[in-house]
């Protein structure tokens, strides 16, 4: 279906219509009025909503088309689209965006390089880096609504088909991730309280998280991290990414959280489980490890991949839980949280993402109350440098382990 939009001369978008009976043309332009008798040539217009061009922009109620996940690839693949909005008509092509009142006119960046995160980019901006380009695509796409959860990989397959033909001809598309950039595709983040759907996606794929927005937050594995093996059997067309028997073995720095997360079933409530993971930063072994590297934990955030009370096997006392360490931006430390689901052979499943924000502290200041964390440093730059150094030495002190995730 994808090449139908790609080859069309123009796409006509019924952007303001809920269904096929709404029509394209809107009569609702009465927002323009002449208010002053003395100035009959002066017209006042109510400010119309902005056309959303970033994933986190709220889609106005008057633009229902832009909330549909299936429509995402129709827009992306069309060479030019006319949007029939409630208040005006918009032009969108691979070069420009224009509104009838010219208030929202812009030219897309064709060679965007190294944004902090993919969602810093506008809808039509193209990244030089194919990895970032894909992460931007998934970030934008997963914000949108699907009627059928089972369409999660299907409704984006036409874009994948184009990438396989033009950008990533030597690559393999596996459950929403790409083989050649697998290490940078793995640290996706989501947050949801929905159960994991019964779908053929491995736990390390964002497609295993049900109808929730996925993004990348500039976390990366250390340069020592390696993919030891990547196994999968593709079922169906290459651009669908459906796989069975998928597993990945990583050799990465690991922080063992076993026993540090309170998993007594009597104490676990749905929302409470998240806090249990965040509480690890108060545990003695973690505090000690941070101190050894002149760091303290400032805050911890846990982002569950699904409703962990539905974990199978269940999360309970004695569960082995590990943090596969990632370097974050600004001296942050993070990791993919995995739960051991099989002893023999040892296998893990991804269950979430943990972010730890450390602060640097001098050894003599440890244990003291420090409201102003930066006061002992010459400058903010010095403080940030110390924090990043502490973080990197902490990571280096961790054991490298082979972990198989299914």
């Amino acid at each position: 279906m994808g090449d139908i939009y790609e080859n069309s001369h123009i796409t006509i978008a019924a952007t303001a219509s809920q269904d096929s009976s709404g029509g394209l043309f809107s009569a609702d332009r009465a927002v323009v009025r002449c208010l002053l008798d003395k100035h009959p040539h002066l017209y006042v217009r109510k400010q119309p909503e902005y056309f959303p061009t970033r994933p986190y922009n709220t889609v106005p109620i008057s633009m229902p088309l832009l909330t549909r996940a299936w429509v995402y690839q129709e827009r992306r693949l069309s060479h030019r689209t006319i949007h029939y909005g409630k208040h005006q008509v918009y032009w969108e092509c691979q070069t420009d965006f224009a509104s009838e009142d010219s208030r929202e006119d812009k030219t897309w960046n064709k060679h965007a390089t190294h944004p902090d995160t993919p969602d810093d980019l506008d809808w039509g901006d193209k990244c030089v880096d194919h990895k970032i380009d894909w992460q931007k695509t998934v970030t934008e796409y997963t914000m949108l609504r699907l009627t059928y959860e089972s369409d999660r990989l299907l409704a984006i397959a036409a874009i994948v088909d184009r990438m396989l033909r033009l950008q990533r001809v030597d690559d393999v598309y596996i459950a929403g991730l790409w083989k050649n950039s697998i290490l940078s595709d793995l640290p996706w983040v989501t947050t949801t309280n929905k159960p994991r759907p019964a779908r053929m996606a491995p736990s390390w794929s964002w497609a295993s998280a049900q109808s929730s927005a996925v993004s990348w937050a500039s976390y990366e594995f250390t340069k020592e991290a390696k993919v030891v093996s990547l196994e999968y059997t593709i079922v169906g067309a290459a651009n669908l990414g459906e796989v069975i028997n998928a597993s990945i073995i990583l050799m990465v720095p690991v922080l063992d959280l076993t026993g540090l997360v309170e998993l007594d079933p009597a104490k676990i409530e749905g929302p409470g489980l998240r806090e249990r993971f965040e509480d690890i930063s108060k545990s003695a072994p973690i505090t000690a490890r941070f101190r050894q590297n002149n760091l303290k934990v400032f805050s911890t955030f846990f982002f569950p991949d699904y409703d962990l009370t539905t974990a199978n096997p269940p999360l309970k006392i004695g569960c082995t839980i590990k943090l596969l360490i990632l370097r974050g931006p600004k001296g942050y430390i993070g990791g993919i949280v995995v739960q051991k689901t099989s002893k023999n052979p040892p296998e893990y499943k991804r269950i979430g993402f943990l972010n730890i924000t450390p602060t640097a502290t001098k050894p003599e200041m440890l244990g003291k109350n420090d409201e102003d964390l930066t006061r002992d440093y010459d400058s903010m730059e010095d403080y940030r440098k110390r924090r990043a150094e502490g973080r990197d030495s902490l990571i280096l002190s961790l054991p490298m382990e082979e972990v198989k995730i299914v």
């Binding site: 279906m1 001369h9 123009i10 019924a14 269904d19 096929s20 029509g23 394209l24 129709e74 420009d96």
Partner: protein
């Protein structure tokens, strides 16, 4: 638009295997048209129940032999009118060109 080097300028494209041909009052479903011509696509919300007219075994004959544009769901009819104004005589609408 002629200065947009990233926007493909092709006008002669082989048509999709099913497409609607636009005439004054009717649209005709053409199969394997095998000609080169520019066409438009419609991007629209299906809504809860889907469009009132879809390509099915029952509607196929009527669409092939000419479906009155004024009897199409409003969004489809409006899109056909836009095409006529743009001088484009073929339009692809998923609900009428794919079987459901």
């Amino acid at each position: 638009m002629q200065h947009h080097k990233h926007c493909v300028q092709r006008t002669a494209i082989s048509l999709p295997k099913r497409i609607l041909e636009i005439t004054d009052e009717y649209v005709f479903l053409r199969e394997q048209p095998g000609i080169l011509a520019p066409y438009a696509c419609l991007s629209h919300c299906w809504g809860l129940d889907g469009p009132a007219v879809k390509l099915t075994a029952e509607t196929f004959g009527r669409l092939r032999d000419g479906f009155k544009t004024s009897d199409l769901p409003k969004t489809f009819g409006d899109a056909v009118e836009v095409c006529r104004h743009l001088g484009i005589y073929y339009i692809w609408i998923d609900a009428l060109c794919e079987t459901f």
